[in-house]
Symmetry: C2
Subunit: 352 residues, 2 copies
Amino acid sequence: MAQFSIKDNDVDIVIGALQSDLTSFMNAWKPMFSRYHLIIVKDPELKEDLKIPDGFDAQIFTKADMDKAVGPSLTSQLFSGYSCRYYGYLVSNKKYVISIDDDCIPAKDDKGFQVDAVAQHLFNLAAPATPLFFNTLYDPFCKGADFVRGYPFSMREGVPCALSCGLWLNLADLDAPTQALKPEQRNTRYVDAVLTVPNKALMPLSGINIGFNRELLGPALFPGLKLTKEGKVRWETMEDVFSGMCAKVVCDHLKLGVKTGLPYVWREERGDAVQSLKKDWEGMKLMEDAIPFFESIKLPAEAVNAKECMLELAKLVKERFGAEKNSVLTQAADGMIEWVKLWKKVVVPASN
Amino acid sequence: MAQFSIKDNDVDIVIGALQSDLTSFMNAWKPMFSRYHLIIVKDPELKEDLKIPDGFDAQIFTKADMDKAVGPSLTSQLFSGYSCRYYGYLVSNKKYVISIDDDCIPAKDDKGFQVDAVAQHLFNLAAPATPLFFNTLYDPFCKGADFVRGYPFSMREGVPCALSCGLWLNLADLDAPTQALKPEQRNTRYVDAVLTVPNKALMPLSGINIGFNRELLGPALFPGLKLTKEGKVRWETMEDVFSGMCAKVVCDHLKLGVKTGLPYVWREERGDAVQSLKKDWEGMKLMEDAIPFFESIKLPAEAVNAKECMLELAKLVKERFGAEKNSVLTQAADGMIEWVKLWKKVVVPASN
């Protein structure tokens, strides 16, 4: 098994604070978080002061910081609710970012040991990805695994991994209709695997528990898709799913890999699925339009980094949906252009 | 969770007998095999008489049966060594076929319970597959699983599953160079998941432990790729890997699904990897030519079943490799045409 390692100071842990009291969340994660620099971004709509326990190297960003750096209009367009974490992605100056929802605590693996989600994300990101041919024994770089018979030798070096999508035990990341239909359903299956999502396959990214190579992919993680009355529970949000589709097509184009599977986190309850049904349906409808589009597009060869890819993607979204009135997707395309502009500036973290 | 079930008499279990004494193999599988009809096909090059214990509804086919049905030339071209099982695929008249190598015994799951590989394959085949969009919680039709937030509703019905590829504990299905480099490596990781291999993604099928819908896919499981001195251990064979690439492109074209993951079987030791190195390399070299070809082809819309797809595939192989002298791939294309001819005939099982 090859060895892969990442230095602690190449990593930022970014937390979007949707609740004001982070004490129990932070204490639960202390063994995994305390050696890293933390960026905590407070939801600009959250009024109460944040409560953060001692013992962390934490840098906090609030609405005042965002307004100063990008202006109040972009703050509300790009960074409200769950999207506040994307401000942390922007102002980080590290190569790698790990981000975990503040209603999650460390999970236990199938042997009862606590999972170090940060270490697993960093391993996923450091080891190559294999999007060009599927390996039936999952990630060939995991301990004890390998490429199976028939896997072409010329593809065994793989490609850089740009995005690691972790999963969730207990409350699975279902949409509101599914959760409302099956209120008692919980995810209890611990699947001990990491795999590369094949080239050209789209997937529903969840932003609950992710790690990514910010240098390679940062600008492609885009927060600007906003539904009417975007909510404060995951099943009301679509920013992460849309962001994931942008990131996947950019990775496919740039020959980068996206992995999914380990690490798991344990998700606590939050919200009422039945109450969320009306809001969520808008997102579901949107996916039906967005997916055929994402499946059909081809980015031009001249786009050689994530910023250029996002500008080309914005252009394609406008060509396809520009004629539709009040299209959420066209508004998102405008947001993409603004987002890339921000990445092109050197944004000086306001609290530094 | 939806219920899926398959009648016992819609199933044949096909065993290729590479060794003459099947007593311990059959007895180990008795709890899973005894309720089904078995087709046991004796490797035409195996001299000794088969030893099969009582208590099975087993039908046996030998070289004499094959010679009578297809002639000695096709018998040796299509059905020697591991490929003898494909004769069973041909003469079965059931909707579903399960096939397991005769050096495998039932595995135990991560909780220590014996795995019913037949039941798991049949569940995989009866439940829809989801090749058009990747579900991060794996097979959404498994107990306790579902489609995750963001999975498009219009794709949740899935497509028929035509092929179920199981995995292996203990001796992993590595190629000879890998096994020779890591003689002590064993696969101990039980991954509790089934997933659909996405549309357009190629994978190295292993024939060790598979189930398939014979009505939908039978003719696409093609035994005719023969390397020089094709061997009697798995790492010397390429027929199943090549067969899997044919099957995958046919499934993608016909909008059928291929699943991989559960069930596991336990593989016993057989063969000497170092001795096999010379033979295996030829197969590895072949894959480097075959994969870009399989990635590039598009079958015509007029091909609406597995037989027609295989004839079109044969045509494309000849167009691409026909000019190369003694090409194993061109010979395989000739074999495909013969294979489809056999499927078009009503082959009456000789022992009936």
